[in-house]
Amino acid sequence: MLASLSRRAILAIYAVIIIIPLTVVAFGSFKSTQELFAGPFSLPRSLAPDNFAEVVGGQNLGSSFMNSVIVTGISVPLTLFLASLAGYAVSRLKGFMAWAIFGFLVLGMAIPAQANMVPLYVLFGRLGLLDNLAGLILANVVSTLPIAVFILGGFMRTLPKELYEASSIDGSGPWKTYSSIALPLSAPSIAAAAIFLFVIHWNELLYPLLFIQTPGNRTLPLALLSFQGEFQTNYPLLFAGVILASLPVVVAYVFLQRYFVAGITAGASKG
């Protein structure tokens, strides 16, 4: 009885610690600064989206949103495509070559982004990849390829070999077998990896911070970070920015919650 009571108490307190700040942010994004400071918990007096209009219009957050959509929209499928090609090959090749390719690709998981950022910056400078979205996409793809290969390759190895053999007896080449057998059968792991990559790429800050100079080329997290300098304590504006930056991930989470947990945990327990 007592145990169940304290169990409920702990859970209720932590639920409040999660919900209250999020509610205050949601309400606060519709308030003025004075209104927020007068009562952080009170309902907003009006639902006029003034703060949102200001962050989207005046502060480039609108174009940053588009940049984030472009970068994430290309980075995620591209990473999945390259990783699934490699994962498929590794699951079909045998012996040393399979081991060497898989090992080489997966080894990258041990390299933190800060470890190679200086040479990467120099290399991107030489290749003309600084201050543009193509550079960000490439950096995203490279940094997450190792773990994507690990997740997809690991899954594809568990697929029954007989299916591949049947397919090649039917006269399909490797491409046909990859696209019509391996890919559809790997849908669960591809979905998990896609969500994992979506969260990482959408929230990526280091690479934009390193590579982007022009405000018009900023992605959302970088634009948001530069906000902080400009609006030290204009919390309602910061909150509107937070909501705008989180919206796509949050909406996806509400509908695909179970897959998010599976995807991000696949990353955590295999990373």
């Binding site: 639920a15 700040p21 952080p40 390719i101 470890a115 991000i264 990373g271």
Partner: protein
């Protein structure tokens, strides 16, 4: 590639002595591997080699120079950058100390807390599932968003924490403004940010424990703590290894959170290795920044290795 890739590969893979009859090996894999298959991993291998492995190796080369990133001329200075980091650069040693303190705090707090949450939410009731979804939620937010939310909570004048304390008549603290405490408060934020994710890892581990074990223990008269000690804990040991290792790397790389909550560059009480490397880089000391990043990588490897040695967590009965 060797002339007989099939046999050579087979030998390596099984690690057994060479088969007397090569034909035997061929019979075991009736469909020959299509050579076109070697083209499939090529783009991934090329991209990783050129943009991940090569730059990492280059970091070692930069690390022994005094290159400023722009001029064509630079000198090889040997280990000077490394010596400078540890003996002459108080900013760096400060960041190193902060980082180790931060990792230790977060790893202990997050491992314990996420296990507690998991234990409380193991059952698949409707309420548990709802709370799991709620507790997991912060993980999907961007670090900058989380940083802003907590910056507001910690704001000494207008912040959420102090407005709540004021209503019960308590004077709140300065939180991030207090240099002696700032790192602890960011650790709290980090735990709020990622405990839900680690909780899920633990729940997966807990749900694999056969229920009969608890029933048997109950019949033997074991109390809850004894049950935890002799059944639950040995079974969640593998999950603990994962949680500790992942949390370590995650808190070493708390770069985004620190920049968001403390500004760029952060003040010295919140400076950690990744933010220090970035500041050195932004200061155009490319050679020195590369040396710092190698120390950073070595530090992560060392701490991870130490944990493996010390914890040696293996499931019972394996």
């Amino acid at each position: 590639m060797s002339i007989h890739p099939g046999t050579a590969a087979k030998r390596k893979a099984t690690d057994s002595p060479a088969p007397a009859n090569p034909a035997k090996v061929r019979r075991r894999s009736p469909t020959r591997v299509n050579p076109a298959l070697y083209l499939f991993p090529l783009p991934a291998v090329a991209v990783v080699a050129f943009f991940l492995v090569m730059p990492t190796l280059q970091a070692f080369q930069y690390a022994i120079t005094d290159w400023n990133g722009f001029s064509a001329a630079f000198n090889y200075v040997g280990l000077d950058n490394f010596i400078r980091a540890f003996t002459k650069d108080s900013l760096f040693t400060n960041a190193l100390t902060n980082n180790l303190k931060f990792v230790l705090l977060v790893v202990i707090a997050q491992t314990v807390f996420s296990l507690v949450l998991a234990l409380l939410l193991t059952k698949n009731s409707r309420g548990s599932i709802l709370l799991r979804a709620l507790f997991f939620f912060p993980t999907i937010l961007s670090s900058v968003s989380v940083a802003f939310i907590w910056k507001f909570i910690y704001d000494p004048n207008f912040g959420l924490a102090n407005s709540v304390l004021r209503t019960v008549g308590v004077d709140g603290g300065a939180y991030l403004g207090n240099d002696a405490q700032a790192l602890y408060w960011v650790a709290v934020t980090q735990v709020w940010f990622h405990s839900g994710q680690m909780m899920v890892v633990y729940i997966a581990g807990l749900q694999a424990i056969p229920k009969e074990l608890y029933e048997a223990a109950e019949m033997d008269g074991a109390n809850k703590w004894q049950q935890f000690k002799s059944i639950t804990w040995p079974f969640v040991a593998p999950a603990t290894s994962i949680v500790v290792a992942y949390t370590t790397v995650q808190s070493f790389k708390a770069f985004d959170l620190i920049l968001g909550i403390a500004g760029n560059p952060p003040k010295s009480s919140l400076d950690i290795l990744s933010t220090r490397i970035y500041s050195t880089f932004a200061n155009s000391e490319f050679g020195y920044a590369a040396a710092q990043s190698i120390i950073f990588m070595a530090m992560i490897a060392l701490v991870t290795w130490l944990q493996r040695r010390l914890l040696r967590l293996t499931p019972k009965g394996d």
